[in-house]
């Protein structure tokens, strides 16, 4: 975990959540372009995983199962939520995407705490 990637992930999650919240207000369902936004968050998560893996191999001590469990959860959440949201063509799909994006942001924050706590 490095700070720039953490901030980038948090920023993208906030943007995605805000976009989805705007759609809730407008009473609109999730659109495909928002799923590309979710894919951008996923891309950052993958880069974070690679960087964390390299740093861990280089000797950064971290509670492995806990950290990787959180990271895996964060990575699985948006794809699952996207499939679940997209099957619903009402504003509730946008609520689902918004909640999922905020949850990933929360998991990112927890990941950072776990990473900094070491072993």
């Amino acid at each position: 975990m490095v700070l720039p990637l953490l901030f980038l992930a948090l920023l993208l999650c906030a943007l995605l959540a805000g976009w989805a919240a705007w759609f809730v207000v407008r009473d609109r369902a999730v659109i495909l372009r928002q799923l590309f936004g979710a894919a951008a968050v996923e891309a950052v998560l993958v880069v974070q995983a690679v960087v964390a893996g390299v740093l861990q191999v280089q000797g950064h001590a971290v509670d492995g199962p806990l950290f990787w469990g959180y990271l895996l959860t964060a990575a699985l959440l948006l794809p699952l939520a996207a499939v679940w949201a997209f099957a619903e063509r009402t504003k509730w799909s946008s609520v689902v995407l918004c909640v999922a994006a905020l949850t990933v942001a929360f998991l990112e924050w927890r990941l950072w705490i776990i990473w900094e706590a070491g072993l």
Partner: protein
Amino acid sequence: MSDEHAPATGRGFGRLLVTVYGILAFAALGRSSYQVLTKLADAPAAYLLSLLAAVVYVVATVALALGARPGWRRAAWAAVVVEAVGVLTVGTLSLTHPAYFAEPTVWSGFGQGYGYVPLVLPFVGLWWLWHTRPGRNAPTSAPARPTEA
């Protein structure tokens, strides 16, 4: 599933309910299996209770998602009632007998470790199951679709 006669519990507001249930189920299952696998001996009762609670959340998630079918609807009722009783019982006991719950469970302190979501969720679930019960006219679980989508 949406073509069944009974109102679906996974549509409309139910989409959000199932999402929150799913996140809580995943969090509780992940945390409790980690506890059971790495330090079960420390507090077997608390960790096994956490695992049980997690399984109930998984059942609730799946049952609410598939709630248009009568069997799943009954399973959803059962799971949500177990959660309501569980969080109230364990929440109260964790305050009156803190020694029993030295290690946190998902229901300790009325679910404060999870932002009190475990306290609120079963009651929202009960309301939603009642709201979408079969035989109710004009199921509001499937509100008018926005045409602009």
